[in-house]
Amino acid sequence: MSASTTSLTLKGHDILFPPLPYDMHARADLATGDDQLQRFINNATLSKDLQRREVCAQTFGDNYDAMRSLAAEIKQHTLDHLDHYLEQFVDAATGTGAHVHFAATAQQANEICVGIAKREKLTQCVKSKSMVTEEMRLVPALVKVGVEVVETDLGEFIIQIDDDAPSHIVAPMIHKDRTAVARAFERELGSPYTENPQELTQIARNHLREKYRTADLGICGANFLVARTGSAVICTNEGNGRLCTSVPRVQVAIVGIEKLVPDMNHLAVLLKLLARSSLGQPITVYNHIMTGPKRKHELDGPEQMHIILVDNGRTEILREETREMLRCIRCGACLNACPVYRKLGGHAYGAVYSGPIGALITPMFKGLDKYPDLPHASSLCGACYEACPVKINIPKYLIQLRAQMVRRRITKWPDRLFYGLWGMSLRHPATYRFGGWVQKQMFRAKARAAGTAGRGDRYTDRGWLSKAPGPLAGWTRARDLPTPPSNSFRYWWKMRS
């Protein structure tokens, strides 16, 4: 079995951690051939993308672009002065009574979290959705030391009991439908089979309420950290994050260092854009701002609050040339807008982060040589850049990654030779014309042989190939190839003058 096809047999979160270097073709073949998946993703992404456009147009009108620029500037400024804001955050958070930890790697972050669980003898954890914990593979690390972990985001919960893996930053079960949920609930929770969404939600709710009541550890991520106040902010639509972070005795927030914003007024701008960009909502239903553990006079809230700040490759991206990528607020708008994501879904990217932003940061986090397909599996159409609320120029950076692959010779030699020769031939009009002529003769001869040489005059008489040789074989695997007509534009111009 090739490395590419082994990736098809993986289950659960291993789906997001395939053998490296990752070859995406097998999963891409599978996804594009799966009619059901095509329907789910197409419908979900299209409607979310449309909602985003409509709501943003309604709210911001002509100022949408200016709003995105402002958000981009806020994030960029914070990243440009990250050391300052980190320090400010740590001081403020410590002042509120929270414990702040630093983790350079995913492993360290896991060790810190596991350490807290062991020291406090915690055994039952409720967890809300967090991308960084996926990156770290935190859940298995906790399970290994005897902590039962329950995902409380409805989508993540279903993924968990179905031994599947999330496939979208915001909508983890975008690749599944109600029938899959109904079957999983029937099998794992012993509930009667139903496809009614209200009933399904109620079943999950009843199951989860019990878990909240008995949990002693609550784990969450954070959408933002506010430097001045030392607060962690989580945005959820189900209210599960709020329960996770207020009922259990010990609370741990695990957050990437790029999530900082200077102050509350900056937060307001980003919250406005996050809700609208991710689900086309005017505001996320629950915006939960946590500032420290339970105070002395308070009745509710965790006794201990820990914040683990995770680097895990981020300072590497913080280099000036690539810093912009860290502005990402994980809204998922670029995934919904992307024609490639709309055909593949998340799993084909072979990593925790999928879609355009995943194609960019996965090779940055894990190595270009480990994910050579990701920067290339894009038509560079720019829909992601247009959708991004913090204006990350994703196509530009994908091209930069491709250039890096050429420089580091990760690009294979036949490609380097081909482009080298092509580039040379384009440097002179004579070789350019000659190249064009050879190509034309070759194609036209083949079209004649296939009996498809065209009609029309000498400027439109193109033929067609349904099977082309060499690098063009990929082209004709999916569609026919037109051949050039007899005469070129240059010829016309010459004859005319």
Partner: protein, 276 residues
């Protein structure tokens, strides 16, 4: 900027050369950047562009030393080779007041990336910016520079069409310009595509290296095209046209492809109506 109805200035009407700084249409000199694909695969589009521009009063010039803008090399990471070609482009079009190209993606290559390419190169930064500032995609040029209103030119073209919006227009801020022009053509019935904003899946080498992905994206487009029931698709980017027409042919969707330049030229009676 100009009014398309004032085709000639007073001086040129009586046979004199225009005064310096004269801004009527007869004094707009345009250099055509044909692009590799249009040159070889869609020469008729190039012919149409020349004839329409001339009909509108422009003087069109075609610098024969031009080759390629370097887009395929740049997009695949061969930045040094792309730069060599970019320098060549800048030199070839040095004296042109306007550079017009029938391809949105080649216009976007120049406008989006030539600046970045020579950011740190004091010798080339300015000339590069010069080319960036004067390069236009054909349809964009008609609207933004020539201020053309086709209703003043009696353009008659009978038939149902749909239109493919090429992604690279997004990058250069072109949105509904082609649709505005189509609305000014007599007899042309425009039926918009569903998922108009979605890419056709071309992406250069992407189409060859990831045929399963590119193929399923383009087939999506083919479905949308056949849903309109039109016989003609207007597509203004040679790459998109190759991809879309090839996929339509493979799927048995019997439609013809034309650029808007061809439709306008046919509608103005400048070239024969072609039934592909």
């Amino acid at each position: 900027m100009f009014s398309a109805s004032s085709i000639q200035c007073d001086r040129s009407m009586i046979g004199f050369a225009c005064a310096p700084g004269c801004h009527t249409l007869c004094c707009v000199n345009v250099s055509l950047f044909i692009t590799c694909l249009t040159d070889t695969f869609y020469p008729r589009t190039g012919i149409a562009v020349v004839k329409v521009l001339e009909h509108l009063g422009c003087k069109v010039d075609f610098p024969e030393a031009q080759t390629c803008c370097g887009q395929p090399l740049w997009n695949n990471g061969f930045a040094a080779d792309a730069k060599t070609l970019a320098k060549r482009m800048i030199r070839v079009f040095e004296d042109a007041p306007y550079v017009v190209t029938p391809s949105g993606s080649c216009a976007a290559m120049i406008r989006d990336y030539y600046g970045e390419m020579f950011e740190d190169d004091p010798q080339w930064r300015e000339p590069a910016q010069g080319l960036v500032d004067k390069t236009y995609e054909f349809v964009e040029f008609l609207i933004k520079v020539l201020n053309v209103d086709l209703r003043e030119h009696d353009v008659q073209w009978n038939g149902d069409v749909t239109y493919h919006y090429s992604c690279h227009l997004r990058g250069i801020g072109v949105t509904d310009e082609a649709e505005r022009l189509m609305a000014q053509i007599d007899g042309l019935n425009y039926m918009p595509l569903e998922k108009k904003e979605q890419c056709c899946g071309f992406g250069g080498t992407f189409a060859m290296k990831y045929p399963q992905i590119s193929g399923s994206i383009v087939n999506d487009k083919v479905d949308c095209i056949s849903q309109t029931g039109t016989a003609t698709v207007i597509s203004n980017d040679a790459g998109c046209t190759m991809n879309l027409s090839g996929a339509c042919r493979r799927a048995g969707c019997d439609v013809g492809f034309k650029s808007l330049a061809e439709v306008i030229a046919e509608g103005m009676g400048l070239i024969d109506v072609d039934v592909e």
